[in-house]
């Protein structure tokens, strides 16, 4: 189910690509521009009014326009940054631009149109700010401006902004906002904002002098698990004079329960996503180490190959790339794409990362590993040599510093479900893990290649006897494992730093995951990765990330006392099984 959620942002971005939707946008924005212009005109009128009563009345009327364009003018006015220019026929309010020229003068913009203020001859007027006196605002007027601003915020087209405006009013606990919020409640359609309004009204109700009304508000806050009100509620609960202390403490208890659930689910989610990261990184190793018995210490560097492939693809989609490996100059031209077209680089990078890492793996298998199948300890040492060479090669090609990755917009940001924040990239990694585990399982069990792989890994000599070309199967298996590592790298590039040392940060964890899961068993790897992820994340809030990691290592060592062959043991009659 979680994998479905993670595809939503992709779908959205795909929909955004449909030209019809894009073409529809200008029409609505044109309609809005006229009402904005009118609202600005009204604002200018309000500022230029002679009497204070007129100003207040006109300002209050501004709220009805629901125009977001006048916010800036109102704020500037409130802060005393609006001036009046007497053109002879009318008074024109204006604001000064930020830029100051050599003479200390600033250009002026009209409040009503936003255009530069010009004199009769059409020349832009320049002012020295210290020479001017701002339009005066009385305290009553300032209050009116603030109320209008609050009401405008409530009418903000963005539900997120609307909700935070509602909550701001609720937290202020001022009774005067009640009619405002209630009015909004009748108009509002968005669910989250409605919930916010409910909470805000209850929050204001806490300050009610009538005990019955206060009690109602307290109960309501408890029912809706309002975390923001916990502090206020506990103040009431700790006040022995308050008639509602009992119900307040009941509400606090409800909220605390809710918070511990949120923490539980948050930890579970983070643990699952960290486990998925581990799983994605270790899956390739589960094949090369688990199935083939090759200790590939360069596995981490294959992950880095995938990450660097993603980096190269990103730059080809973007500004291009100039590299200077080994004293040569290589420059790759970029396509200079932006927006959602640029974001697609990641989709292209995934298969390319797989292919490039698989090719490097193929090369390694042919040149080194094929001689070491019967000598696992030596394969450990030789592949460590390879890992050193690859690391240095990365440094020479891409520089010693980490390279800059730009995540696609649909991977940044997050969604909040019942107060639990879920990052899109974390959701995506879970979905991604599910997809590649299933894909790997399908390859191994449902394809002719998978059949050959399993045959060779289980009984090499027998497979060779019935005509399987074991050399070629070895090659393909190792390439598959390496490719999976590359795929992991492309994804991990979106989560952590991409540098020459990227592989080193994962290698120990990957081996641990495979060993704990039970060598030669994909299900074991899945379980151990998720288990390690969840345990690590649940320990972290208590003892910090480093100690958490150390504790996990210690737990693993002790765990292997209990089950030396890992979670899932492949049964065998062989002495060395």
């Amino acid at each position: 189910m979680k994998s479905k959620i993670s595809w939503i942002p992709i779908l959205i971005s795909l929909v955004a690509l449909v030209p019809g939707v894009v073409a529809g946008a200008p029409a609505t924005s044109a309609a809005k521009a006229t009402s904005d212009a009118q609202a600005l005109k009204q604002l200018a009128q309000a500022i230029a009014s002679e009497s204070e009563a007129d100003q207040i009345a006109l300002t209050k009327a501004l709220a009805a326009t629901e125009s977001q364009a006048i916010k800036k003018g109102l704020i500037t006015w409130n802060e005393g940054g609006v001036y009046l220019y007497d053109s002879g026929t009318a008074k024109i309010p204006y604001v000064l631009e930020d830029a100051v020229d050599a003479d200390g003068k600033q250009k002026a913009d009209r409040v009503d149109t936003g255009e530069a203020l010009k004199d009769d001859k059409g020349q832009p007027l320049l002012f020295v700010s210290s020479d001017l006196t701002a339009v005066d605002t009385s305290s009553g007027l300032r209050r009116a401006i603030q109320t209008t601003l609050d009401m405008l915020a409530l009418a903000d087209p963005d539900p997120q902004a609307r909700r935070s405006a509602v909550m701001k009013l609720g937290m202020s606990q001022k009774q005067i906002y009640i009619p405002l919020l209630q009015d909004r409640q009748t108009k509002e359609k968005d669910k989250t904002v409605l919930a916010g309004l409910d909470e805000a009204l209850a929050l204001i109700g806490l300050g009610d002098s009538d005990p019955a009304a206060q009690d109602k508000a307290i109960r309501r806050l408890g029912e809706i698990h309002s975390i923001g009100s916990r502090q206020l509620l506990s103040t009431i609960a700790n006040n022995p004079n308050s008639p509602n202390a009992k119900s307040a403490s009941a509400s606090v208890k409800l909220i605390d329960e809710h918070i511990s659930w949120i923490n539980f689910y948050g930890t579970l989610f983070r643990g699952l996503s960290e486990g998925s990261i581990l799983l994605v990184a270790a899956l390739g190793l589960a094949i090369t180490f688990g199935l083939m018995g090759v200790i590939n210490m360069a596995h981490g560097e294959f992950i880095a190959v995938g990450a660097y492939s993603a980096f190269v693809v990103q730059n080809i989609f973007g500004q291009g790339l100039a590299l200077s490996p080994f004293g040569m100059n290589v420059s790759i031209p970029g396509m200079k794409l932006t927006g959602s077209a640029f974001d697609c680089y990641f989709i292209v990078a995934l298969p390319l990362a797989f292919i490039s890492a698989a090719l490097v793996g193929l090369l390694l298998e042919r040149s080194v590993i094929q001689f070491l199948y019967r000598r696992p300890l030596e394969s450990l040492l030789a592949t460590w040599g390879v890992s050193l060479m690859l690391q240095q090669a990365f440094r020479l090609i891409f520089g010693a510093a980490n390279v800059q990755m730009i995540s696609p917009s649909w991977l940044s940001g997050n969604v909040t479900i019942d107060d639990v924040g879920l990052g899109y990239n974390r959701l995506f990694v879970i979905g991604f893990a599910v997809v590649i585990v299933i894909a790997t399982w399908l390859v191994l069990t449902k394809t002719p290649l998978g059949l050959l792989i399993r045959a060779v890994m289980q009984k090499r000599d027998m497979a060779a006897c019935i005509g399987v070309r074991t050399e070629r199967v070895n090659m393909m298996t190792f390439a598959l494992g390496s490719g999976l590592a590359g795929l992991a790298g492309a994804f991990l590039s979106q989560i952590g730093n991409v540098g020459a040392g990227l592989g080193q940060t994962y290698i120990v964890d990957c081996f641990m995951t495979v060993v704990v899961g039970g060598v030669g068993n994909l299900v074991g790897t899945v379980c151990s990765a998720l288990g390690i992820g969840v345990v690590d994340e649940s320990l972290q809030p208590w003892i910090g990330p480093v100690m958490g990691k150390i504790t996990v290592l210690a737990i693993i060592i002790l765990f292997l006392q209990w089950r030396p062959a890992g979670l899932f043991v492949t049964k065998s009659r062989s002495l060395e099984g």
Binding site: M389, Q392, I556, L560, P564
Partner: protein, 391 residues
């Protein structure tokens, strides 16, 4: 047949010791600075460092070459020995540190009110000297007991020791672990009343390193010739057969593991005053693997091999780091692959390997039905561990 071989070995060892203990220090102390024969203080210091690495390499070889246990935790034991002596050296600085406090500088910097309890006994040299061998030994005992009891072997043992080292390394990087965190222990001034910054003390330390290598070599030589050594090699070649013959292989392995940890600790303890610093990067897992490279290049399954390997590879490393710093890792990696693929006997095994090649060529040219010395070609550590074990 064994007798003259043994006598030759003693002769070579005596000659090497003589050069190491008498000739080189004299060349450092007496000839004028600009003379052709003069060996600079820097070089003597460097040689001393290489020799402590040689001790580490012997400990790796006793485990890997003789028992078939590839431990990737030897750098941890080396560093632990180093830390144990480093703590003593830190306390000897006294008020000469940056902050002129009785506490070591990093403790003042991190705001420790007083010396942590486990630091106090390190004021005595004898305690620190015991800790140099006992701390690594104890850790090896506990870890080895757990690992061998559950019959973790082969690559699993390697991976687990690597995890142990990784965990310890993370731990030592923490500032609140009371061992100086990232920066480690440094800025030593005295050892047993001698000023560490003078050439004569450094020369003395160098001579100690030669003696330590000699002692460790002699001990290992003796150990491997006893019946114990035979069991050790039997475990390497076929652990199951040893088990079926009624030996408790786990106890043998545990003993070797603990002894090797102690040897590595001793090496580390001599390394620290010569280099002047110990920090967590010394126990990085890659350092353990580096030590394995020295053994592989020098020739595993022999005792001279690790010494030659450690000195040669490190001498080459310090040369390469100055001449082409960008490519050293490339060279090290390539060296390692080549050594593993083409030189199973390392430098020491090279003559025999070449002889074998020559003989093969000769046989190819004028084939004989039964090769006369077919048995001898297996003299190489070619039959080493895993082939025999893994069908």
């Amino acid at each position: 047949m064994a007798k003259p071989k043994f006598r030759r070995e003693i002769l070579v060892a005596a000659l090497a010791t003589f050069i190491g203990i008498v000739v080189l220090p004299c060349l450092n102390a007496f000839p004028a600075e600009n003379s052709f024969f003069h060996i600079s203080n820097y070089s003597i210091n460097l040689y001393g460092k290489f020799l402590t690495f040689a001790v580490l390499a012997i400990s790796v070889d006793l485990l890997w070459g003789y028992t078939g246990l590839l431990s990737l935790g030897q750098s941890l034991f080396f560093a632990l020995g180093g830390y144990a002596l480093g703590m003593h050296l830190m306390l000897l600085i006294g008020k000469l540190g940056q902050y002129h406090s009785d506490l070591p500088d990093f403790m003042v910097f991190l705001g420790y009110p007083k010396l942590p309890a486990h630091w106090v006994p390190f004021k005595h040299f004898w305690f620190a000297a015991c800790a140099v061998v006992l701390v690594p030994g104890l850790l090896a005992l506990v870890f080895g007991f757990l690992a061998f009891r559950s019959r973790i072997k082969g690559v699993y043992f390697s991976i687990l020791t690597q995890a142990l080292t990784y965990g310890a390394c993370l731990m030592f990087y923490r500032n609140d672990f009371t061992f100086g965190g990232n920066n480690g222990l440094t800025d030593y001034k005295f050892l047993l009343g001698h000023d560490l910054r003078t050439a004569s003390t450094q020369r003395g330390l160098y001579i100690c390193s030669v003696l330590l290598v000699l002692a460790v070599y002699a001990f290992s030589r003796w150990l491997t010739t006893t019946k114990f050594g035979k069991v050790q090699r039997a475990i390497r070649d076929s652990e199951n057969r040893v088990l079926f013959s009624g030996y408790a292989a786990a106890n043998f392995k545990l003993f070797v593991f603990v002894v090797c940890a102690m040897i590595a600790g001793l090496g580390g303890a001599l390394y620290v005053p010569q280099v002047g610093i110990i920090n967590p990067s010394e126990m990085d897992t890659s350092k353990s693997l580096e030590a394995v490279v020295w053994v592989a290049v020098g020739g595993r399954g022999t005792l001279v091999g690790p010494i030659i390997g450690a000195v040669v590879v490190n001498a080459f490393k310090s040369f390469a780091n100055r001449t082409f710093p960008d490519y050293w890792l490339m060279i090290e990696g390539a060296l390692f692959i080549l050594a593993v693929l083409f030189m199973p006997g390392g430098i020491v095994g090279l003559p025999a390997q070449l002889r074998g090649l020559k003989r093969k060529k000769r046989e190819h040219e004028n084939p004989v039905l039964i090769a006369p010395n077919a048995q001898e070609t297996v003299d190489l550590p070619d039959t080493l561990p895993d082939q025999a074990d893994r069908v």
